[in-house]
């Protein structure tokens, strides 16, 4: 009967090993690849937010809302409040995402399926519109985010990028472990039950909406964190972060990676970035088509995403 413990420790140690492998890469990987991975980890966090909602049966076509909020909060706090510490900035971004989710969640958790998708989309586009109208925030040009410090240490040049890379590895690993615990927790499994049959959950004495609400808030928090990390890493934010095609990309990656495990979104994000980089380079005129074909092929031949290649011989650890 020690199954749960094994489960936790096995994923926990796997995350730790993976994090160490990637951390060791800091001094081995070419800088462009480290940068690609930094952004992919950040993106993976946002996608993880999409994935945990997919486990609840909800597909968000507006997760970019929180991605964008996270990015802008980091940018604004660093520009206007003069906060330069990366950890403080990320905490602010996460907090802002959670606050926003608390405000919208009560409305959104009334909706399911395509209506949830469209309403999330509408919300993110309203933010987009508001940012485009804000000349003070640079409108569509956005603005640049200063390089952060790390607990008082302000690295320069290459060290700066390496520190950001390590930060993204650490944040991704911490969130992966946390979300994994969340996914196998009582609440986490009830979320799947809500996807399967809301009525039954209600008649078991639980509120499906309250369950979905907590899940929505968690998803928002990590997506905003991902947005904040992106802002720090790329050094630039603009309203495109909130536009619906950005959300579409997150859903794309979620499908690509699969929803079977906390690792899946990160694998999806890395593979997506690599495919896109090479598609853009090899077929600058037809990279969208390449992506579209890959996506179709995945849906047709690998419906559970890349993760099913890794976890082929057993049902997904967290049933999907």
């Amino acid at each position: 009967m020690s199954f749960p413990k094994h489960l936790a420790s096995s994923t926990g140690s796997a995350v730790a090993i993976a994090a160490l492998v990637f951390a060791a890469g800091t001094w081995v990987l070419p800088p462009w690849l480290a940068f690609l991975l930094t952004l992919a980890f950040a993106k993976g966090l946002v996608v993880l937010g999409v994935v945990i909602q997919m486990r609840a049966g909800l597909v968000s076509f507006g997760q970019a809302l929180f991605y964008c909020i996270g990015g802008y909060i980091v940018g604004l706090a660093s520009q206007s409040l003069g906060i330069s510490d990366a950890f403080a900035l990320l905490a602010l971004a996460t907090g802002a995402g959670i606050l926003m989710a608390l405000a919208c969640g009560w409305l959104l958790t009334r909706y399911r399926e395509i209506f949830f998708a469209m309403l999330t989309l509408a919300l993110s586009m309203i933010l987009y519109g508001a940012l485009v109208k804000s000349s003070a925030l640079g409108s569509t040009d956005g603005f640049n985010v200063a390089a952060p410090s790390f607990l008082g240490w302000t690295p320069q040049g290459d060290a700066q990028k390496q520190a950001l890379y390590l930060l993204s590895v650490a944040v991704a690993a911490a969130v992966a472990i946390g979300i994994h615990r969340f996914m196998v927790s009582s609440l986490g499994r009830v979320i799947e039950a809500v996807r399967e049959n809301e009525l039954r959950v209600e008649y078991l004495g639980l509120s499906p909406r309250a369950v979905l609400f907590s899940n929505y808030v968690v998803a928002a928090g990590i997506s905003a964190l991902g947005g904040g990390l992106t802002a720090l890493a790329s050094g630039h934010i603009d309203p495109d972060m909130a536009v619906w095609t950005t959300s579409g990309e997150f859903v794309f990656i979620a499908i690509l990676g699969g929803t079977g495990h906390v690792f899946a979104p990160f694998i999806g994000a890395i593979v997506f970035s690599v495919i896109r980089t090479f598609a853009i380079q090899e077929a600058p005129h037809f990279w969208q088509m390449t992506l579209g074909v890959v996506l179709l092929a995945l849906i047709l031949f690998l419906p559970k995403g890349l993760w099913s290649l890794i976890a082929r011989d057993k049902p997904a650890e967290v049933a999907t």
């Binding site: 199954f3 094994h6 489960l7 420790s9 096995s10 994923t11 796997a14 995350v15 090993i17 993976a18 492998v21 990637f22 890469g25 990987l29 070419p30 800088p31 462009w32 690849l33 940068f35 690609l36 991975l37 952004l39 485009v132 109208k133 000349s135 640079g138 409108s139 569509t140 040009d141 956005g142 640049n144 040049g157 992106t230 790329s234 050094g235 630039h236 603009d238 495109d240 972060m241 690792f263 694998i267 890395i270 593979v271 970035s273 690599v274 896109r276 980089t277 090479f278 853009i280 380079q281 600058p284 005129h285 990279w287 969208q288 890794i310 976890a311 057993k314 049902p315 650890e317 049933a319």
Partner: protein, 440 residues
């Protein structure tokens, strides 16, 4: 949950997959460009989306034509040397679509994986802002050929590797205001229709401020802010018609501009109101009889239809038209200009036949004065990193016999007349009444 995974195999599998991904991506790292003795230039411009047709593709066509000509050694003086400094040029072409974060990532890929020696590109102002710090950080000569935001050199205060070989958008709108004030001093009302994004907002702010200085009695009767790429301007055209402005200022570009002119023209909007199109030059070929004669258009510098007569232009214009079956528009001119700037800079400081280093290129480029199809370009602002050129405005003329459009009543404004001096922000400079402006 059917089978209980064994602790070691589960861990192993996860760790193995992590390692596999590292390996796969690591292998892709080995796909970096080998040092082949060629001078590699990364060219980044829109190849998809709405900006591809009017800007991106003419620019990439111009790049292809220019680089082919340079590599064959058949370019006119002073650019007769093969390629750059005698080295053949190799191009890496990328699509600018996808947003600033993606461009920041691709820029690093260009420099660190593709090992390009210089980057020329970027039409979108947002992309320019995102790339600017990265260019300085990575220390690769980066030439912005088109983007118009005045904030580039506010973001990077003391640029070393970053240059802009074209003009910023402030210049266009100051010049447009001057042109209007000189040719139509009796106007009373002005209306505006801009795409609702940074470019449109900045353009209107600069133009309306300038016009207020030059013609203080003109009042603004309508401001329309349709969404970028909306395509349908029925309601906006009605609103503009109702407000009966004397002139209508618009920074619309590409398909949106053509759609606006088409729809507005058909509905007689321009019978009473003159349109001022700061980016109108790309439409000279396509407007035909849909746009009334007298419409004020600009070309964001002495480019395209406004290009002067000189030997380089006599080569470029017919050669481009012959190869691509279309006249070169301003983005094409700006691209040639950027490539020639790079070549001139490299050959100025590097030993002949030797691969120029980044430092040699930026040293040569700072403060450089070079020849382009648009005339002489001086890198004279922001410590020699920002190009200075004259700006022209004129009126559209359509010749029904030849079926071709052209520009007439062209007025050219010297850079010192329409460009804020170093150290002052455009808005402050305009509000103060253009202090130090030298107009003829």
């Amino acid at each position: 949950m059917k089978s209980i995974p064994h602790f070691p195999s589960q861990t192993f599998r996860l760790a193995a997959s992590a390692a596999a991904i590292t390996l796969i991506t690591g292998m892709s790292a080995s796909a970096v460009a080998a040092d082949n003795g060629k001078y590699r230039i990364g060219i980044v411009t829109f190849l998809s989306g709405a900006a591809a047709g009017p800007f991106g593709v003419p620019a990439s066509n111009a790049a292809k034509l220019t680089i082919d000509t340079l590599n064959s050694g058949k370019m006119l003086a002073p650019y007769t040397k093969i390629g750059i400094n005698g080295l053949e040029i190799e191009t890496v072409l990328l699509d600018e679509a996808g947003g600033a974060t993606k461009q920041a990532e691709e820029f690093r890929n260009l420099v660190q994986r593709q090992k390009v020696d210089a980057v020329i590109g970027y039409i979108s102002s947002g992309d320019c802002l995102a790339i600017a710090p990265a260019a300085e950080e990575l220390g690769v000569p980066t030439l912005f050929f088109d983007c118009g935001t005045s904030k580039v050199f506010e973001t990077v205060k003391n640029p070393k590797y970053l240059f802009r070989t074209g003009l910023d958008a402030v210049v266009d709108n100051v010049a447009a205001a001057r042109y209007v004030a000189e040719t139509r001093p009796n106007i009373k009302t002005v209306a505006s229709i801009q795409q609702n994004y940074a470019w449109g907002q900045d353009s209107w702010a600069d133009f309306s401020l300038s016009l207020k200085q030059l013609l203080p009695n003109v009042s603004v009767v309508s401001e329309q802010w349709p969404k970028l790429l909306q395509g349908q301007y029925g309601a906006e055209i009605s609103a503009l018609s109702v407000s009966r402005p004397d002139i209508i200022h618009s920074s619309f570009w590409g398909g949106d501009m053509e759609a606006l002119m088409l729809q507005g023209g058909a509905r007689g909007l321009f019978d009473k109101s003159v349109a001022v199109l700061t980016a109108g030059e790309t439409g000279v070929e396509t407007f035909k009889s849909n746009v009334p004669n007298g419409t004020v258009i600009g070309g964001r510098g002495p480019y395209g239809a406004f290009a002067p007569k000189n030997a380089l232009n006599d080569w470029f214009r017919p050669a481009f038209t012959a190869e691509f079956k279309a006249d070169p528009t301003y983005p094409a001119y700006k691209m040639v200009q950027a490539i020639l700037a790079l070549k001139a800079a490299a050959e100025k400081t590097a030993k002949p036949g030797v691969m120029p280093t980044s430092d040699q290129v930026v040293k040569g480029l700072a403060g450089l004065s070079f020849e382009a199809p648009s005339g002489t370009v001086k890198m004279a602002r922001t410590n020699g990193h920002q190009a200075v050129q004259d700006v022209s405005f004129g009126e559209y003329r359509f010749d029904p016999k030849t079926g071709k459009g052209s520009v007439a009543n062209v007025k050219t404004y010297a850079a010192d007349c329409v460009m804020p001096p170093d150290g002052s922000t455009p808005a402050d400079w305009i509000k103060a009444g253009f202090p130090g402006a030298k107009c003829k």
